[in-house]
């Protein structure tokens, strides 16, 4: 068991992927790693793949970036326990047939992942125009929960309503759900859009996200992983940490740093700059998470 732990920690260094490591949580991590407890694991977050996107100035390799990301995950020295896609699997289209074709292609490409426990979530590009109808045909429920090695995961849907609300029904579901969990239970919330007002001027918010955060507040160990903003971002609302992941199609500027929320153009000198995915080492006992940002290898 401790050998596994060492290997897991080494993969970040050894896989030649580098990447910054961001520790979430305060103390006890080193302790937990040494003990090599069974409630340690790691998973991979991929986000905003926008399969079907076409914009040569933004990503001339759009047809292969997702495949390279799949290969990169397959190349990780240690297999993650599972992989989660936090929305915008496909790029939007008004054509319901084309939407389904993109979803089928996306599903085919990610079926090449060696790890078979793959969780999906919708983004507005997948689900807003038909309220998640096509998405559900391909990927199942819009919101759900699951347990993994002592951590309770809750995947929220703030996109199938085109107005980016969770909605009363889902908030009620969340409230009921949380009632069954102890106040100390390690909880990971997955979402596509930020649940807090990250930058409302660019619509980086969820209309009723504050209601979800309010429901989560009494729980001591809550961490949120989300996508949508196409960049790494870390924020806290009270004791709850929110971590945005990079996109796998193009980066967006830092909140408010540009006149427009427009994609950052492709850099010939540095292909794949600003895009990538993330690994998350979880220690359920201490409800701590260690994040590593991993690039998509070029070529």
């Amino acid at each position: 068991m401790s050998h596994d732990t060492i290997k897991r920690r080494d993969f970040l260094k050894l896989a030649g992927l580098g990447g910054a490591v961001f520790a979430s949580g305060l103390s006890g991590w080193a302790q937990a790693v040494k003990s090599g407890a069974a409630d340690e694991f790691y998973f991979v977050q991929l986000s905003d793949t926008h399969w079907g996107f076409n914009g040569p100035k933004v990503n001339p390799e759009a047809a292969s970036t997702l495949k390279k990301a799949v290969a990169a995950v397959n190349g990780l020295e240690q297999k993650p326990d599972f992989v989660v896609f936090t929305g915008d699997l496909t790029h939007t289209t008004d054509d319901p047939k084309l939407r389904r074709a993109r979803m089928a292609e996306f599903r085919d490409i990610v079926s090449e992942l060696k790890i078979k426990d793959v969780r999906f979530m919708p983004g507005e590009h997948d689900a807003s125009l038909d309220r998640g109808e096509a998405y559900q045909e391909f990927f199942g429920k819009l919101h759900y929960s699951f347990d993994h090695k002592g951590v309770h995961f809750i995947a929220l849907d703030n996109v199938s309503d085109p107005g980016a609300s969770l909605g009363e029904a889902q908030l009620k579901w969340l409230a009921q759900h949380l009632k069954q969990l102890g106040k100390d239970a390690p909880i990971v919330v997955l979402a596509h859009r930020p649940l807090f007002d990250l930058y409302p001027q660019w619509d980086w918010a969820t209309r009723d996200g504050a209601s979800a955060v309010e429901l989560l507040m009494p729980h001591k160990n809550v961490t949120v992983f989300y996508g949508h903003i196409h960049q790494e971002h870390h924020h806290k609302t009270g004791h709850i940490a929110h971590h945005a992941a990079k996109s796998l199609i193009f980066p967006l500027p830092a909140p408010g740093s540009a006149p427009k929320r427009a994609p950052i153009p492709w850099d010939e000198a540095e292909p794949n700059k600003g895009i990538g995915f993330r690994s998350i080492e979880a220690d359920a006992k201490g409800a701590q998470y260690k994040l590593a940002e991993l690039p998509v290898p070029k070529g």
Partner: protein, 121 residues
């Protein structure tokens, strides 16, 4: 550029200019009204110029589908719905340039659907 709003538009020429810009005086409250029509993926009035301290009513509608009108700096949002007029009152109590945008996902181009309100002293 759009003409500055004024509470009155006595000379006919100015009235006409305001009408062209989608402005006319509301008879009820004597407050300026600005018509904003949304469609994929733009507003027909992407730049609205207001005068600080002069409240206005925005009359929103849409030509194709539901869009949004969100003006976070004034904590204001509304839907623009085909065949309907939605009224939003804005009290421009601060000068500056403030973005508004569509916050109802409307397709490939939604993210570019935005405009600005310029409040002049």
């Amino acid at each position: 550029m759009r003409p500055l709003l004024s509470r009155r538009c006595a000379p006919a020429a100015i009235c006409a200019a305001l009408a062209l810009a989608g402005l006319h005086a509301s008879s009820a409250a004597d407050e300026p009204v600005i018509r904003v029509t949304a469609r994929k993926f733009e507003y027909d009035t992407p730049e609205i110029i207001l005068k600080k301290g002069v409240p206005v009513t925005i009359e929103l509608t849409s030509l194709d589908r539901v869009h949004g009108f969100n003006l976070p700096d004034f904590k204001t949002r509304a839907d623009a719905i085909p065949g309907m007029v939605t009224r939003v009152r804005i009290v421009p109590d601060k000068a500056g340039t403030f973005a508004f945008f569509c916050d109802v996902f409307c397709g490939d181009g939604h993210e570019e659907m935005a405009g600005k309100i310029v409040v002049k002293d």
